[in-house]
């Protein structure tokens, strides 16, 4: 097969659906045939039924709880990481001052901060924001700094010869030029943020998808657990889709937006 050969949209969708369908088929076969006992692998019908019960028991409230935690934690992380990343990517002094500390934190798994976070903030919302922040910010800073430092020097030179001052070099050249890559970093880190929040909720929470997940495990409700896992996946797909659509909307000028 040719490398990077493009395919039609219909072809693409067809292949996507058949990929998902194949997994579904395998699951159906293993569960309906009882090759694996329902306690470990319930059938699709059982899972669907469990999902309906969950929704009746106010699952939307838990979805909202998890989503709000992610959104708040993420917005705080982004609001701090983006400016810090831009400074690190353009000013060597700041890079030297901040970067090693950020890298140090980046190498610590965010899950390692959960116990400390509970000690410091209890098991309320603040603790969840902190876990997301500590998980997202060090990576986001790195990605933003990287995007900014790869802005072509020639763009900056062109700006300078057209008489842009330092502030204008940032606002009119460096930021718009690095924006698409930053957006992709946000997309990537948002999906990672889901991992952290679910983990934090599994450890300690009274609401949210993670807390239902751990309750389902305790009561051997495998069907409910699988339903939650699928819902998390679907929520991920939806956010991914939103990021892709907005990418196309905001950055019609990129080479990528033609194919995305």
């Amino acid at each position: 097969m040719k490398i990077r050969q493009s395919i039609s949209k219909r072809h693409y969708i067809l292949l996507s659906i058949s990929g998902i369908f194949l997994v579904f088929l395998l699951w159906s076969f293993l569960s309906y045939s009882k090759l694996i006992t329902p306690i470990f692998l319930p059938s699709p019908t059982q899972v669907l039924y469990a999902a309906l019960i969950l929704f009746k028991d106010n699952l939307l409230y838990d979805i909202l709880a998890s989503s709000l935690r992610i959104i708040f934690g993420f917005v705080i992380a982004a609001a701090i990481s983006i400016p810090v990343g831009i400074i690190i990517g353009t000013q060597k002094r700041f890079e030297a001052f901040i970067e090693p500390t950020v890298s140090f934190i980046r190498y610590i798994p965010p899950s390692a901060f959960v116990p400390l976070s509970i000690l410091w903030f209890g098991i309320g919302e603040l603790e969840k924001y902190f876990v997301i922040f500590i998980g997202v910010a060090p990576y986001l800073i790195f990605f933003v700094a990287n995007a900014v430092s790869h802005v072509r020097q020639e763009f900056v030179d062109a700006g300078l010869t057209l008489r842009a001052n330092t502030k204008q070099i940032y606002t009119k050249i460096i930021i718009p030029s690095a924006m698409p890559q930053m957006w992709e970093a946000l997309q990537l880190m948002f999906s990672v943020a889901w991992t952290f929040i679910i983990f934090a909720e599994i450890i300690a929470a009274n609401s949210g998808l993670g807390s239902i997940l751990i309750k389902s495990q305790r009561f051997l409700k495998t069907d409910k657990a699988i339903a939650i896992v699928i819902i998390i996946g679907l929520l991920g797909l939806i956010t991914d889709f939103l990021f892709k659509i907005t990418y196309k909307m905001f950055f019609p000028w990129t080479e990528k937006s033609r194919y995305a």
Binding site: R152, E154, F155, D157, A158, G159, L160, T161, L162, R163, A164, N165, Q168, K172, I173, P176, S177, M179, F251, P252, W253, T254, E255
Partner: protein, 263 residues
């Protein structure tokens, strides 16, 4: 009048010092079209960046109309080989980039942008992004972007080097028509001798590493110049004369390199 006095530029690469430009002096009168011809990698880009104010010379000074140049300025525009348009801006926004930085009233701005869209024949492409334009069109936008800022001097760094030969000769004709109407000082760097003769009043042949002026030619052809000029006997004669000079500098450079490595 642009005066370059004893310009030298040395780069530090590790422990070694590499002299890229060596004690170079030249004067360019207002509204003159000057071409610099030299082997590739001879430091022409460095030299243009010094005039643009993007790089400081190690020694010497650049003086424009009795004022020493200390940084980039509105009076000097730079045009790059790879067009270097801002891909996130449409054609008209690229052209008005310099104007948008100044607090100009929007009517005046629009007038200038429309003027250059017309001159460059890009009126129908005003709302296009650079990615949807051909190389020749992109370079016309880049020229318009620089001209819209109304510089006194335009510095061009092998501007047509990455275009195919047909587009290249179209762009040469476009530039020469433009220069004959707008009359700016142009310093044009190229390694294409024919291009230099066709466009310029004066040609400087340069040496490589360090860059020095080897020889100066005055181009005798009258203006307006049309493409037919390129097929005349006199043109061929000038071309071969300058090419010979250039080849000699190339051979000299090679000889020197061998000589140096032997030591």
């Amino acid at each position: 009048m642009l005066k370059l006095k004893n310009i030298s530029k040395t780069y530090n690469s590790g422990k070694e010092q590499v002299e890229v430009v060596s004690n170079l002096s030249l004067e360019v009168r207002d509204k003159q079209f000057v071409a610099l011809v030299g082997p590739s990698g001879c430091g022409k880009t460095t030299f243009l960046k010094i005039i643009a104010g993007l790089l400081a010379p190690t020694y010497g000074e650049v003086i424009l109309d009795r004022e020493k140049i200390l940084g980039p300025g509105k009076d000097r525009g730079l045009i790059f080989q790879n067009f270097n348009l801002f891909p996130w801006l449409t054609v008209s926004k690229n052209i008005s980039f310099g104007l948008d930085l100044q607090k100009l009233d929007s009517k005046k701005k629009e007038e200038i942008v429309n003027h250059y869209l017309r001159i460059t024949g890009l009126k129908d492409f005003a709302e296009f992004y650079p990615k949807n334009l051909s190389g020749g069109m992109q370079q016309r936008v880049a020229i318009a972007r620089t001209l819209a800022n109304n510089p006194k001097i335009i510095l061009m760094d092998e501007p047509f080097g990455s275009l195919d030969s047909q587009t290249r000769s179209q762009m040469q004709e476009f530039l020469i028509d433009l220069w004959e109407t707008e009359r700016k000082t142009i310093i044009f760097v190229t390694h294409n001798v024919g291009e230099a003769i066709f466009l310029a009043d004066k040609i400087y042949v340069l040496t490589k590493r360090p860059m020095r002026i080897k020889k100066i030619f005055k181009v005798p052809f009258l203006r307006p110049r049309k493409h037919a000029l390129k097929r005349t006997k006199d043109f061929f004669a000038s071309e071969s004369k300058i090419t010979q000079e250039l080849d000699m500098t190339n051979d000299l450079t090679k000889a020197l390199t061998i000589f140096n490595t032997d030591i």
